[in-house]
């Protein structure tokens, strides 16, 4: 989708550190997401995956290190600024506007892209162009029929799909997905995996996910995070074969 002339990685993370008291939640993490790459981050519970994402999106300030978006250092840019620069995300625990309809949630995403408007006269629901974009993405994630339903009335899986539509509608430069398949049934997560496969190459995606089948099928590269450290980065095949990773993490999976 993006026809961006800039070359180089879409997202660079350099020597990021964050401690909570004695706990090293992020311990010298460096990783890059190349343009169009789907980079998965896996790791056991409490490894620091969500903490990494909150630092990338700017909700949490790292103790040290740098984050570059399209080559621009955004380490000191607040979360809303990074979102305007083109960072999109989904939340591990869905964050939606429950009183809004499904469509309004996506329209909000489009309105907020430029920081929101002080226009108190026009109704955003009547914006044809935005509606079309929103409906396109609702259709893509399979929620087109629910456009006028109140978001709080959606099932768990549908909420996750809506999160994806909200993140995608604004055509993000980098997409951060925190366990988008968590709590989904097999059928729903299969559908979402196919959707993500369809996005591959067009978006730069950081995917945190516990569903190993999906990760191995989708990811161009995988980074393994254990106790806040990246212990290995490589392709799916390399990760499967790496003895260190097996010992540290994959032991309980029969791959």
């Amino acid at each position: 989708m993006r026809t961006d002339p800039t070359t180089g990685p879409a997202l660079e993370i350099e020597h990021l550190r964050k401690t909570f008291g004695a706990l090293r939640a992020t311990d010298d993490v460096s990783l890059t997401i190349e343009r169009g790459e789907l980079h998965a981050v896996i790791g056991p519970n409490g490894a620091g995956k969500s903490t990494l994402i909150t630092q990338i999106c700017g909700e949490l300030r790292p103790d040290s290190g740098h984050i570059r978006l399209d080559g621009v250092d955004v380490t000191r840019v607040p979360a809303f600024g990074r979102a305007r620069l083109g960072l999109g995300r989904s939340f591990q625990i869905t964050q939606l506007c429950g009183d809004f309809t499904v469509l309004e949630n996506v329209l909000l995403s489009l309105e907020a892209k430029g920081g929101g408007s002080f226009d108190v006269f026009r109704d955003p629901r009547r914006n044809r162009a935005h509606r079309d974009v929103a409906m396109h993405w609702l259709d893509t994630v399979g929620l087109a029929d629910f456009a006028d339903r109140q978001a709080s009335a959606l099932s768990h899986g549908e909420r996750r799909q809506l999160e994806i539509a909200v993140a995608l509608a604004r055509d993000p430069r980098v997409l951060l997905l925190d366990e988008p398949m968590a709590g989904m049934g097999a059928e729903e997560s299969g559908k979402l995996a196919r959707l993500l496969a369809g996005l591959k190459g067009r978006y730069s995606i950081l995917l945190v996910e516990h569903d190993m089948d999906a990760v191995f099928a989708l990811a161009d590269r995988i980074s393994v995070l254990v106790y806040g450290r990246v212990v290995f980065t490589g392709t799916a095949a390399e990760v499967r074969e790496n003895p260190e990773v097996k010992a540290a993490y994959l032991g309980d999976w029969e791959c």
Partner: protein, 323 residues
């Protein structure tokens, strides 16, 4: 899905009733009815403004009476100095000058209070708005030039071209017209592009920020807008009663406003109008019977809060949207 036209029809019904009230009073010969109706409409303007920030912005202001008070006092103070001939160009009694001035004063105060209060949320927000209201209250009490404790009388109402708002009937319809315009504006406000962001901030600030929203400016603009609406109500009150006193800015008045909003239905805009009518009407009724009318009103509010959580008419107005 509920019928989207129901809130509109209900609102039209409310205005039809309010518009017909003077005729009813004329037919029944109930002379004090006009005053009661006027008070209801003026309070309604204030509580619609309050609902804007509480119901749609999740900013619980417990000091909104300060804007009511300041709006009223600007009218009284200008009238006072005009009467003494102390103002340049002989002062003025023209509503077109005095009223915008009063509303601007409220906007300025709202900007300062809102900016400071919005550095916090929740209980601290409530405390800061209350603290500022108390400051305004004690300031009004202590300034002897402007009557101190006793308040100030106003010799006559402000003047408008073509109409004589000194006549109760005309003044009532002017208030009702202003309520309609204000309600229409607020309805447009919450449904606008701005309103979408504002309401998103109420539901999930985290989501909104991660989509690119800087919360402060949206909340502050809403707070100031609400302060101006409440200021307008204060202006009308001063003109109605031809009297202002520090009680207009007392915390009990803020509490009454809040009770009216909750009574009618938070986050519905029209609901609080019904809340104001119910509250003022009941107060009138009960105080004929006992001066301790709050003994009855209190439990009544509790019952509504417990058993009609969306207020008296909230479920009629809000469709199936939960607040």
């Amino acid at each position: 899905m509920t019928d989207a036209r129901r809130p509109i029809l209900f609102t039209l019904g409310v205005f039809a009733v309010l518009a017909l009230l003077p005729a009813v009073f004329a037919l029944t010969g109930w002379t004090s009815g006009m005053g009661l109706a006027t008070r209801i409409v003026i309070y309604a303007i204030a509580v619609v403004a309050l609902d804007l920030i509480i119901g749609y912005g999740a900013m619980v202001s417990f000091g909104h009476a300060m804007f009511f008070g300041v709006g009223g006092y600007v009218v009284a103070i200008v009238a006072h100095h005009t009467g003494l001939g102390e103002l340049p160009f002989g002062g003025t009694n023209a509503a077109f000058i005095v009223w915008p001035l009063a509303i601007l004063a409220c906007a300025a105060l709202g900007l300062v209070v809102g900016w400071l209060a919005l550095k916090t949320t929740g209980v601290q927000f409530i405390m800061i708005t209350l603290a500022f209201a108390q400051m305004v209250f004690f300031l009004l009490i202590s300034v002897q030039v402007y009557g101190g404790d006793d308040g100030m009388m106003i010799d006559r109402r402000n003047t408008l071209p073509f109409v004589d708002i000194g006549r109760p009937l005309i003044f009532y319809y002017l208030c009702l017209l202003l309520l309609a315009v204000w309600l229409g504006f607020c309805r447009m406000f919450v449904n606008s592009r701005f309103g979408l962001v504002l309401q998103a901030l109420r539901q999930s600030e985290r989501r909104a920020v991660n989509l690119g929203i800087a919360p402060l400016s949206f909340r502050l603009a809403t707070f100031v807008t609400s302060a101006m609406g409440t200021g307008l109500a204060g202006v009308l009150w001063a003109n109605y009663a031809r009297f202002v006193s520090p009680d207009m800015a007392a915390w009990t008045k803020s509490g009454e406003f809040m009770a009216m909003v909750v009574l009618g239905g938070l986050g519905t805009l029209t609901g609080p109008i019904v809340g104001a009518a119910a509250f003022v009407g009941l107060e009138e009724l009960l105080s004929m019977w006992t001066e301790h009318w709050m003994i009855v009103m209190g439990p009544l509010l509790v019952i509504v809060a417990l058993f009609r959580r969306r207020g008296l008419v909230g479920s009629l107005l809000g469709g199936d949207r939960a607040h």
